[in-house]
Amino acid sequence: MNRGDRWLLTLPLVLTGLGVVMVYSSSTILGITRFQDPNHFLFKQLIRAGVGVIAMVACSRLPLRRLEPLSPWLLGAGAALLLVVVVIGRVAKGAMRWLDVGLFSIQPTDLARLAAVVFLAWWLKRRPPAELGFARGLLPPLLMVAGLSGLILLQPNLSSAVLLALTGVWVMFLAGVPVRHLAVPLLGGVAAGAVVLRAHPYMMERFQSFVGFAGGTLDARGSGWQLDQSLIAIGSGGWFGRGLGGGLQKYLFLPEAHTDFIYSIFAEELGFAGTTVLLGTIGLLLWRGLRAVARAADPFAFLLAGGLTIQIGLYALVNLAVATGLAPTTGLPLPFVSYGGSALVANLAAAGLLYRVSAMNEAEEALARRRWSQEKT
């Protein structure tokens, strides 16, 4: 078996390690307040990181030709779990997103988004839309993505649904769908988003708060509280921050400091220098991922790697944009870094798959090189 691009394993591990440290730093106060245990969140995150590393290693050794036929089953499992969570899921923070499985709880959304990418790659490889036209080529996968997004919307979880749909559209774009065909799902998605926004007042409120913030006003006491506190955290970091563990905004000022707003605490404690390093790391990871995508010969591998890279990239971009006030406040984790088991395991698994793709590329290229040298001699 060939070696793959080891950046694709080390960078996620680096980010996961950083995440464990930041979760510890940002959750101690909350842990004391809520569980009388400063290490509560740290230990849970460590266990999940362990599970995630196992998943990553497993995925990195899973031959893609074995994965390919599993795709429909994976999607079926994801959709089923989503259905189950809508029916019997646990309600937390106003939405049903969690499914209690014995010792821990999982978010089926994370499994479903992974499964959706795998399925799309499988489907689009077998039925290339570029050749089959809109109705026969594009419509079926579109409907699949829309259905999955719809299930996620029922929780309700607008941001995850939007990101899943966007990822799907990107994958179709990579698959060679004409751009004018993609305009249809994009417009439809915007319309559906508007309807959902209207149906849920709290979403509307956040959206309006964001519009207000973009216009220069921020209701710092009400709906804009979280964003305001996040900006204070980031801004007070300065060049080099208050030092690791020295942040003050985690003292119950900033809600969700260890999950969706972990970047704010990171920026407060490590400053602009830390931000630069973090963005650099993420950028490097995306670059290595896209490199693997570009070099993939097999359409399944190409689409799979493309979908996974773009998914990780979109999650990172949206999370950071929310924390810095460039997007409306939503609850999306920062990949590898934020507290949260399912997302961490899913992302590490995705990283493992990316590594697998890169390893396959290496193998094929080595094969091609050998052939070329043989022809020459």
Binding site: I29, W170, F173, L174, G176, Q229, L231, I232, A233, I234, G235, S236, G237, G238, W239, L248, Q249, Y251, L252, F253, L254, A267, G271, F272, T275, T276, L279, I282, G283, L286, W287, L290, V293, A294, F302, G306, T309, I310, G313, L317, L320, A321, T324, G325, L326
Partner: protein, 716 residues
């Protein structure tokens, strides 16, 4: 291969999208963390810091020997939130045992009110600290400072009191407030998002500076003695009230100032400073000393009186003598307090000289003690005396004095003719007791020569030895003094009432080298006895007897040398300026050596400060308020456009028009419009805009500004 090319391009587009997003985020982070850092750092500080005021300890008031008269006591208040307790019953038991309360009752209180129960207040420090250390959950211990007055009621009128904010509002507490108050410090605690403070101090703090200790001139022993005997006299005589003031004639230090009965706290006034009364015969020391000084009378010169004790010595002035004799030597006239002779001496002395000596002795003006609410007495200027005023004032009527003024005048006799400035504060010490400042005795000026005074002391000694004040005799000690018995002017009847007297005694011991001057006043004694010699003099005697028994008697302590200041300009009386024309005011004031300070605009004077009849130093200024212009009778709303808001409000207030204001700065619009008849039905509304002056074209600001602004505001 076109297919491969298309793929590459699409990956590049995706890559471009992702990296553009990252670049945006990086720029955004740079903006927040580098360019806006100071803004957010400040916000974070405001967010997270909790500034806690650290109260300073208010300085104590000490008596002249350093014994505390008023001090801050640290106590604790203990409250409880039963809901937060693990076991309210057990906590109630523990608290009850520590505080000596009934455990069952406390437990019931906890059960009845789970949110907040005030368990105890004013808990002594040791117990409070023990409870705080025990650290029971749901029990809150807070510091509570209380002002304690060591002598209790005694001396409360002179010491005054503090209000709930620990600010001195009366008496010496108010007078010395700046010294006593100290400077509060602060510390910053760290606060979390739910507003709870955490005990990690962030380094920044300022220690509170405790107030200074103020050493007073009061003597706690003497104060207690005086209060005791005064209360006894007021009780046995069933008098309305009594007050007494003792001071050291050599330095002007006030040793004791007592009032009986004590008024409820908050309404207590120190009568020895704030109340003025008609002194009666005790005032005769002025005319007697002045006559000796001026050579109008010699001690053994004979003066005609009346055998029937009744004589008309000036038009409308019929004087009566209690001790009836056809003629007195001057000495005996003092001894028997002859109204007729003293009235005649007043006439001989003449109004101007009598007035001059009266003011020189400090009557009719403030003594300079700085005591809050001190009265200045009442002494009209000779220009406003009637024909009978001169002899009447000579025997102590038609004037009003405070006990302090009287005591200082007798102190001048006692110390050889120098009027002292009264002293209440001896020394200021810092919180640790190191002396910061010592207050030196200060002489106002010399009034009489020493030889006149020694003659006077001799004659006053005779008053006690064999005259009207025999009740003040103390065995083994020569006492000098003078009694006074004034019929009280009854405002209801409009004449001197019958049977209402104010009896007084002023004296000093020892007569040869006086070190203690006392004034005792008994107001409205009933039960037949009312002469000062019968009523007030015994109090003085009892006080002196008790003082002699003190281990460190002030009477026996060594003399204090005093540096006399050059004589100050004699005080002048403020003329009545009310309703005078403006030009006349300045003329009138210049005549008596005063300056005018005009307030407001208008032709005539409405009010003045100080009031007419008050004695002030020559060269002082008198503030007069002028009436508004005569056209105010037209009573129409003025045009306020362009007028600064403050001035507009002043004009409206003068017209008694309420105003509602919008904005600040200069008035740009008003409703109703100018010229509306007054009074208005609703408040006048003013719209203002800031700094209109800045928006105006260049030109001299000030006088022209309002017009320009007005023109501008009318344009739209």
């Amino acid at each position: 291969m076109a297919h491969r090319e298309m793929r590459r391009n699409r990956v590049l587009v995706a890559a471009a999208g992702l990296f553009l997003g990252l670049a945006c985020l990086w720029a955004r982070a740079a903006w927040l963390q580098v360019f806006r850092h100071s803004h957010y750092a400040e916000r974070a500080e405001r967010n997270q810091e909790l500034r806690v005021l650290l109260e300073p300890v208010r300085g104590p008031l000490l008596d002249r020997r350093g014994r505390p008269l008023a001090r801050d006591l640290l106590t604790y208040s203990i409250s409880a939130a039963p809901r937060e307790m693990k076991d309210p019953r057990a906590t109630a038991r523990v608290l009850a045992r520590a505080l000596g309360l009934d455990p069952a009752r406390l437990a019931r209180a906890f059960a009845a009110r789970p949110w907040f129960v005030r368990v105890a207040r004013r808990v002594p420090p040791d117990r409070g600290e023990r409870i705080a250390r025990a650290g029971q959950r749901g029990v809150y211990v807070a510091l509570e400072t209380r002002r304690e007055y060591v002598l209790g009621n005694a001396a409360e009128e002179i010491l005054g009191c503090t209000n709930i904010d620990h600010v001195g509002v009366e008496g010496l507490e108010r007078m010395c407030d700046e010294e006593l108050r100290g400077r509060p410090g602060w510390t910053t605690l760290f606060r979390d998002g739910r507003g709870r403070s955490h005990q990690l101090q962030r380094g920044q703090e300022r220690r509170p500076e405790d107030g200074h200790q103020v050493v007073l001139t009061l003597d706690a022993d003497l104060q207690a003695i005086v209060e005791h005997h005064l209360a006894e006299a007021v009780d046995t005589l069933r008098a309305a009230r009594g007050f007494a003031l003792f001071l050291d004639p050599r330095s002007g230090e006030i040793l004791a100032a007592a009032n009986v009965p004590h008024s409820p706290p908050g309404r207590a006034r120190n009568w020895t400073f704030t109340d003025q009364f008609e002194p009666g015969s005790t005032y005769k020391v002025v005319v007697a000393s002045a006559s000796l000084e001026e050579g109008v009378a010699r001690p053994d010169q004979w003066f005609e009186a009346a055998a029937d004790g009744k004589a008309t010595i000036a038009p409308g002035a019929v004087f009566h003598d209690v001790h009836k004799q056809p003629a007195f030597t001057f000495r005996d006239a003092v001894r028997w307090s002859s109204n007729i002779v003293m009235g005649k001496l007043g006439l001989r002395l003449g109004a101007d000289r009598l007035y001059r000596y009266s003011t020189a002795l400090g009557f009719g003006s403030l003594t300079g003690s700085r005591f809050p609410g001190e009265a200045g007495g009442k002494l009209r200027s000779p220009a406003r005396w009637s024909q009978r005023s001169c002899p009447t004032i000579a025997i102590g009527q038609e004037v009003a004095v405070t006990p302090l003024q009287l005591a200082l005048a007798y102190a001048a006799v006692a110390n050889g003719g120098v009027l002292m400035r009264p002293m209440l504060v001896r020394e200021i010490r810092d919180g640790e007791g190191r002396t910061l400042r010592r207050v030196a005795p200060e002489a106002a000026h010399r009034v009489f020569t020493a030889s006149t005074m020694s003659l006077m002391r001799e004659m006053l000694t005779a008053v006690v030895d064999s005259g009207t004040a025999r009740a003040a005799r103390v065995p083994g000690l020569r006492v000098a003094g003078k009694t006074g018995t004034a019929q009280k002017y009854d405002a209801d009847v409009g004449t001197y009432g019958k049977g209402k007297y104010l009896s007084s005694f002023a004296g000093f011991v020892p007569a040869d080298d006086p070190c203690l001057v006392g004034v005792v006043v008994i107001d409205e004694p009933s039960g037949g006895r009312y002469y000062g010699g019968e009523v007030a003099a015994p109090v003085f005697r009892e006080v002196v007897l008790d003082v002699l028994r003190l281990p460190e008697s002030p009477i026996l302590s060594g003399p204090v040398t005093v540096a006399a200041r050059p004589p100050a300009p004699a005080p002048v009386t403020v003329p009545d300026l009310r309703l005078l024309w403006r030009e006349a005011v300045e003329q009138r004031l210049a005549d008596v050596g005063l300056r005018a300070r005009l307030a407001g605009e208008g032709p005539r004077v409405l009010a003045q400060e100080p009031a007419a009849g008050q004695a002030v130093e020559r060269g002082a200024s008198v503030t007069v308020w002028l009436s508004p212009p005569a056209d105010s009778s037209a009573a129409r709303l003025p045009d306020l456009a362009g007028v600064p808001l403050r001035e507009a409000l002043r004009r409206l207030t003068r017209l008694e028009v309420p105003a509602r204001i919008q904005g600040s700065g200069v008035v740009v619009r008003q409703s109703p419009a100018a010229g509306a008849p007054l009074p208005l039905k609703s408040p006048c509304r003013l719209w203002c805009e800031p700094s209109l002056a800045a928006a105006l074209p260049a030109g001299p600001a000030g006088a022209e500004l309002p017009d320009a602004a007005a023109a501008r505001s009318r344009e739209p």
